[in-house]
Amino acid sequence: MKNDLILRVIAKLLIPFILLFALYVQFHGDFGPGGGFQAGVILAAAVIFYALIYGLADARKVVPEPLVESMMAIGVLIYAGVGVAGLLLGGNYLDYFVLDPNPVRGQHRGIFWVEVGVATTVSGVMLKIFYMFADRGKVDEE
């Protein structure tokens, strides 16, 4: 598929919009449908799309594997870190009310960071699994 002009051009047109939509789903999750999980999956789907059209090696250059692996862990750490931040500020674990002087704002802040954590982990795991599977085929071929 690497030399198909139509696919390459269409992919180039579509991928920015997919990424933008992922961000929209992420940050608009408070108001409409969506949230961290869906945004993470869409983000991963955009990169997988890129890898399908332009080849795995190019995708690895854009999103290198060490980054993907650390994303998996960083997401969980962000989530757990929000809980610890609540503890340090004198509340319970995962208590968002203490994150800001205004409790409602604190809730917003907590939800925002939690969703960021979920999105990071989910997209990292999806991409890593895809890389692993796609790589297996190549190893068998050689």
């Binding site: 999750g29 409602v104 939800i111 699994i129 895809f130 190893v139």
Partner: protein, 169 residues
């Protein structure tokens, strides 16, 4: 719904795994439509993205590694058929006892939901109730969920990476 039933029947009958994968993607999209019709937009979005998108790609990747025709089983699988039929029968019997769909007096609608819906405006003030419940009221559950996703990814990494290292020398 009937299209879903048709696609399941074709999936069972078909022996071409490529067709089966494409059909299961179609099934996921139909499922997402049903979920939209039931006003569960968040779940529908996840189903469309994960079920139809990512898992189809992953299954195609797996198909690349093996033959695309399903092998014939050595003997007729009557015992598994019996087990799955009886489990399915029990599940259907269980759903008969459930309250009707969108019944306002159903137990789930009178337990904590009124509190979520009424006090969320003052407590969290996020227009999407699903997000509020998911990230705030049920924060611990979602933390567990994220950890499960992480563990699954770590498991795949552990399994597949060792294999590759063992093959090289």
């Amino acid at each position: 719904m009937s299209m879903m039933a048709v696609s399941v029947l074709v999936i069972i009958r078909s022996r071409n795994l490529f067709g089966v994968i494409v059909l299961s993607g179609i099934y996921s999209f139909l499922m997402a439509t049903v979920l939209v019709a039931m006003d569960a937009v968040d779940v529908a979005m996840t189903e469309a993205a994960v079920g139809a998108g990512i898992s189809t790609v992953l299954l195609l990747g797996a198909l690349y590694l093996c033959k695309s025709e399903e092998a014939h089983p050595p003997k007729k699988p009557f015992l598994p058929l019996l087990v799955s039929m009886s489990v399915g029968g029990m599940l259907v019997y269980g759903t008969l006892g459930l309250p009707e769909f969108s019944d306002p007096q159903a137990p789930i609608h009178v337990h904590v939901v009124p509190r979520y819906l009424n006090e969320m405006k003052q407590e969290v003030d996020v227009p999407n109730v699903v997000t509020a419940v998911l990230a705030s009221y049920r924060g611990f559950d979602t933390l567990g969920e994220t950890t499960v996703v992480f563990t699954a990814g770590a498991g795949v990494v552990a399994l597949l990476r060792r294999r590759r290292k063992g093959r090289k020398p």
